[in-house]
């Protein structure tokens, strides 16, 4: 599936994006190797979602280069090399879970079997149920199944657990972790520090459109000389509202 062998899962250089007066993304450089699980961390307005939108081809950068497995984001999406769970929900109430995932699969050239995607996302038992009758946590896992049914090498999750309660969050991460263990690369954004600490190999901290720290959780903490990620986060971003 990978066209450019040896190309990193994701390569971002000099990325910039301005919305009106706001510099949402102000010079981001980032390389994610194959098989890494990376947390993109930062307060609201740090530029996480804007960065992700550009990585998956939903928004066009004002400046900078992005390649996913060596090709443009749009091409990566077209070839099913990148699976995306966008922040805002998208399930049609009148359609069943199985039909929804089967539709997404049918749009791709070499998808996973629908049953496998449902099973990996932990929603195999819900295939016949319409979206209107799903709980928030179930919906999120269906959306996870939609993201992984193309059999992507890179999975991008934009604040996947923002709307979930503690139990649903834990279940979601268990599924994600199992999928990552098959050698896939994962990039997820969150503002839950404990999630970054528990599930990521590497943490990328954003603030005001820039990356202010990048490395393994332990290294990021050492760099700041703080006692925990929360303190490191506070010190680097200078934003007390960010802690939840």
């Amino acid at each position: 599936m990978d066209i450019h062998e040896g190309a990193p899962a994701l390569s971002v250089a000099g990325l910039r994006k301005t919305y009106g007066e706001t510099r949402a993304v102000d010079g981001v450089d980032l390389v994610v190797g194959r098989g890494e699980v990376v947390a993109l961390l930062g307060p609201n307005g740090a530029g996480k979602s804007s960065t992700i939108d550009m990585i998956v081809g939903l928004a066009r950068p004002d400046a900078g280069e992005i390649t996913v497995f060596g090709v443009t984001p749009r091409e990566a999406v077209r070839k099913g090399m990148v699976g995306v769970m966008p922040q805002e929900g998208a399930l049609l109430d009148d359609v069943t879970v199985g039909e929804t995932v089967a539709l997404i699969a049918s749009l791709h050239s070499a998808p996973l079997p629908v049953e496998e995607a449902l099973r990996r996302a932990g929603v195999a038992g819900l295939a016949g149920r319409r979206a209107a009758r799903l709980s928030g946590g179930q919906k999120q896992r269906v959306r996870f199944a939609m993201a992984l049914v193309s059999g992507p090498g890179l999975l991008v999750l934009d604040e996947p657990t923002a709307a979930l309660d503690v139990t649903a969050r834990r279940e979601f991460w268990r599924s994600m972790h199992a999928f990552a263990a098959t050698g896939r690369t994962v990039l997820f954004s969150t503002h839950y520090l404990d999630e970054a600490e528990a599930y990521a190999d590497r943490v990328v901290l954003m603030h005001a459109g820039r990356i202010v720290a990048d490395g393994p959780v332990s290294a990021v903490m050492a760099e700041v000389g703080a006692l925990g990620l929360e303190d490191a986060f506070l010190r680097l971003t200078g934003d007390s509202e960010a802690v939840r």
């Binding site: 998956v56 939903l58 099913g80 995306v84 805002e88 998208a90 049609l92 009148d94």
Partner: protein, 237 residues
């Protein structure tokens, strides 16, 4: 594109209430109007033409405009993360609108033939049913355009106003020849007026080619507007 079209058609055909209403409303309207107008000397085939056009227009617009809801919940965004192109999505939606536009035209024509005894030549029926149906394309596109601007909340208001203006000012229910001069001029700008010309030409003769040309131009302009708007929306998201 075929996969998405199949999905959308299956979804639509499952919505029995929507389909039933799409046919029942114009058929009911026809029965109501035919009774009154025929007494006043208006031929049933004339009423048939106007009401069939109304049914087709309303159904086509409804399907397109309902995309506002899907846009609102982020379904269009989700599709942009698949290999399905924007053009493929819009084409599938327009096709579904056309599928739903046929039953009301056929239904009204059938009832007019069975109940009011309307008799046309085979060519006349082809024009009354297939001609009117084909002429619905610009309205399917207009519906999509409304869907790209409206939100789930204000959709009904937009949609209602557009259908009302197209039907009444377009002369689908009241002959434009009885309009005051100024209103008649406005009527002739509307695509619904021209589609009604096609419907009426089936029974009573008249210039159908000029109408076809106007409708084709409308289809081109509205099609371009939909595509441009969809692209802008992509850039914003």
């Amino acid at each position: 594109m075929t996969a998405y079209l199949t999905f959308e058609i299956r979804r639509t055909l499952r919505d029995a209430k929507f389909l039933l209403f799409a046919v029942a409303l114009p058929v009911g309207l026809y029965l109501l109007m035919a009774g009154r107008f025929i007494d006043q000397g208006v031929p049933a085939s004339y009423v048939m033409g106007g009401v069939a056009v109304f049914g087709a227009i309303k159904s086509a617009l409804d399907v397109g405009a309902r995309t506002a809801v899907e846009r609102g919940i982020g379904w269009q965004r989700q599709l942009r993360l698949t290999p399905l192109s924007g053009g493929g999505y819009l084409l599938a939606k327009a096709s579904v609108a056309m599928v739903v536009a046929l039953p009301p035209v056929a239904g009204v024509s059938l009832v007019a033939a069975l109940v009011s005894g309307v008799r046309l030549s085979p060519g006349g029926w082809a024009l009354a049913v297939l001609g009117v149906w084909a002429g619905t394309v610009p309205f399917a596109l207009l519906g999509l355009l409304i869907g790209q601007f409206a939100t789930a909340q204000n959709l009904q208001a937009y949609q209602g106003a557009v259908v009302l203006v197209l039907s009444f000012v377009g002369g689908l229910f009241i002959p434009v020849s009885t309009f005051p001069q100024a209103l008649a001029t406005v009527a002739k700008v509307l695509p619904s007026y021209w589609l009604a010309q096609v419907g009426h030409a089936a029974a009573l003769g008249g210039d159908r080619w000029r109408a076809a040309l106007v409708l084709a131009l409308y289809a081109l302009v509205l099609g371009a507007a939909v595509v441009v708007r969809y692209r802008r929306d992509t850039a914003r998201a």
